[in-house]
């Protein structure tokens, strides 16, 4: 079959949604489908600066990139003005401003979908918060091609799913793909038909996570050989809960527990303001943005991952820690609760409660066997449910269900199968 994936950015641009669509596209190609990707030429969504080539073939996927309007200061002002007044009045008059300010505005992409969209069996739009989904959806509707959307919605950020045109897209498309059951519940609460919303999840490739000896990794990172190491891995934004994690760590340190804290991830203004408060705290190591290799070393070096974030859409870092055999601790918010099984492969703590988090860490410090068992259970879970092939099975299944539903509601079929892969007989 032939699928068109429309996304705001595509690797080498970095991001969870970008990785998701790339993994999915590549896996579908390996299964004999033809997948084309329409995306912007940007590496950076702050500016939508056109940096990447117009066409690339990446691991069998044809990636067509289209120039987008640059997002300069005045465009950001328009976006902020639109959002501010939209939430105040809920008037749809402000939506064009949000659409304009959000970007990526790539007329070439719209034209390409309109002129070439009929070649595809289905169009899959990714990341509802950006404008390409709105015009991609409109173009697919004009052509009558089945269209599905993966919104990547953040429950606490309504502007990622609850603007008027975003709701129009979700209500009008053939299927909505959520990444967690909590996200699905959110969409059902909006009034979407439960038969048109499925959960696919995020996936990893286990081969990308070679196990490294903990002692070797610790030496490489200059961390102490002995003792329990708590890892915080993620952008150090305020909603990620770094302050809660540090407060919990400070409390455990004052009790004399043999632990260290490793904070890894890009710094923000928020984190820069936080560090002076914890200056001199023993056992605290801070690293900024790291390479993939260094990230793996930090995961191998630690004993558990702590990310008490209240704004996660999924928390793929939990899967990464599990794959390395480490238990995880997250905040009891809907998306995270549907990933972590409390007491099985990690702990869920009260959001913002440092003492609850400290108690959970202390339980792991006190019982190395429990730590090991939880990590192993987490790894089993990832291998069973959250690998790229598993996720692709689910999305491929959704594509087929959408096509079948279209066929059932549009009249008798002629027995034809799609071109790319003939019907295989037998088991």
């Amino acid at each position: 079959m032939r699928f068109l994936h429309v996304t705001q950015r595509y690797p080498p641009a970095i991001g969870g949604a970008e990785r998701y669509i790339a993994d999915l596209s590549e896996e579908l190609v390996q299964r004999g489908h033809q997948v084309d990707v329409f995306t912007s030429r940007a590496l950076d969504f702050h500016t939508w600066k056109n940096e990447l080539p117009h066409f690339e073939r990446l691991n069998g996927v044809d990636v067509y990139r289209f120039s987008a309007m640059r997002r300069r200061g005045w465009v950001w002002s328009i976006l902020h003005f639109g959002l501010r007044n939209y939430w105040r009045t809920r008037s749809r008059w402000y939506e064009p401003l949000i659409f304009l300010g959000g970007g990526p505005l790539a007329p070439g992409m719209l034209w390409a979908i309109l002129t070439r969209g009929r070649r595809y069996d289905l169009i899959h739009l990714s990341c509802l918060v950006y404008g390409h989904v709105a015009y991609g959806y409109w173009a697919a509707q004009q052509l009558g091609v089945p269209v599905i959307v993966t919104p990547h919605a953040h429950a606490r950020q309504e502007d990622t799913y609850n603007l008027g045109y975003q709701r129009d897209v979700m209500f009008g498309c053939d299927h909505v793909v959520a990444v967690t059951p909590a996200e699905r519940d959110l969409f059902l609460d909006l009034g979407l038909d439960p038969w048109r919303v499925s959960v696919a999840g995020n996936g990893l490739r286990p081969d990308d996570y070679p196990g490294e000896q903990q002692a070797t990794a610790r030496r490489r990172l200059g961390l102490p050989d002995e003792g329990f190491i708590v890892l915080f891995l993620g952008r150090k934004s305020n909603y990620k809960g770094l302050d809660v994690a540090l407060e919990a760590y400070a409390a455990l340190q004052s009790q004399g527990l043999p632990i260290s804290f490793l904070a890894v991830g890009p710094e923000t203004d928020y984190s820069q303001a936080l560090w002076p408060r914890y200056q001199g705290l023993p056992g605290l190591t801070v690293l900024g943005a790291v390479s993939d290799e260094e990230k793996l070393a930090t995961l191998a070096a630690c004993d558990c991952l702590v990310l008490p974030s209240i704004g996660e859409a999924f928390g793929i870092v939990f899967l990464e820690a599990w794959l390395m055999g480490k238990p995880v601790i997250g905040a009891r918010v809907p998306a995270v609760s549907s990933v972590i099984d409390d007491g099985q492969n990690g702990w869920l703590t009260v959001p913002g409660d440092a003492s609850d988090l400290a108690a959970s860490i202390a339980r792991l410090v006190a019982d190395p066997d429990l730590t090991h068992r939880m990590g192993a259970r987490g790894r089993d879970k990832v291998l069973r449910r959250y690998t790229v092939p598993c996720i692709t099975d689910r999305v491929e299944g959704i594509y087929l269900r959408v096509l079948r539903r279209r066929q059932r509601t549009s009249g008798p079929h002629d027995g034809r199968q799609s071109a790319a892969r003939p019907l295989e007989q037998g088991r």
Partner: protein, 244 residues
């Protein structure tokens, strides 16, 4: 309807074939999957499920005690299981949508297939934990006794009429103007003149009414099923009394 049952020869497969034939379907049965069926019934995972872009695909896991073939649920429109535990395992451990998983006996399968073909399966959201499909499963389990009385048949026909009318939204309606050139502008103005009433107030109100209508139809259908069941039991009781 053309139906195809795919899977190894087994009593379960024969039972499904018989049931589909009783429904009046033209049934074929083999591991080789044809391209011209309207309904595909798989008694386990099958590579053909990954290719079917037409028809209705049902996966029967009622005889898979270990749920070994659970990943194939991804490729099916509906999935049948034999117990609440299996259903919960598919929902909680594997993350499938509860609405697609049915606890159903052979007797009630025909009704389920009818509804699925008409796209009339319950559309209410089922909680992931707590509430299960057991209620619907019970409702879909009539006793194996003679057909409904004329009164019940008439009620069922009226209920079907109500079900068809439950969705009162004008989903296909779009403001248009036939005037050349300025037509789209007029349509745009008309749409925007009414959108402030339609979007925040009228549409949500009507959608709520549609949800109530659908819920009402489901409730009425359950009551009707219960009534049918009671009448059948009464008939059987009277029959037993008559024959001493």
């Amino acid at each position: 309807m053309k139906a195809h049952v795919a899977g190894p020869t087994s009593p379960a497969a024969s039972a499904v074939c018989c049931l589909l034939r009783e429904r009046g379907d033209v049934v074929s049965y083999s591991d080789q999957v044809p391209l011209d069926a309207d309904l595909y019934f798989f008694l386990g995972g099958h590579e053909a499920m990954k290719c079917l872009t037409h028809g209705l695909v049902i996966l029967d896991l009622r005889h898979d005690t270990t749920l070994e073939t659970a990943p194939w649920v991804s490729y099916a429109d509906l999935c049948l299981v034999r117990s609440d535990q299996d259903r919960e395992a598919l929902v909680d451990a594997h993350g499938f949508e509860p609405e697609r998983i049915f606890l159903v006996t052979d007797d009630a399968l025909s009704d389920l297939v009818d509804k699925a073909v008409r796209d009339a399966l319950p559309r209410t959201h089922i909680e992931r934990r707590g509430m299960t499909m057991a209620d619907h499963g019970t409702a879909m389990r009539p006793e194996d006794v003679p057909g409904p009385t004329p009164q019940i048949a008439s009620l069922a026909a009226r209920l079907e009429g109500i079900e068809r009318q439950a969705d009162i939204m004008l989903r296909g309606y779009r403001v248009r103007s036939r005037l050349p050139v300025i037509g789209p502008l007029i349509a745009w103005v008309r749409r925007n003149l009414t959108s402030h009433l339609r979007e925040p107030y009228l549409d949500p109100t009507l959608e709520r009414q549609v949800a109530v209508n659908r819920e009402l139809v489901i409730t009425l259908r359950e009551l009707l099923d219960r009534q049918t069941d009671l009448e059948r039991r009464l008939a059987r009781f009277e029959e037993e009394q008559r024959h001493g």
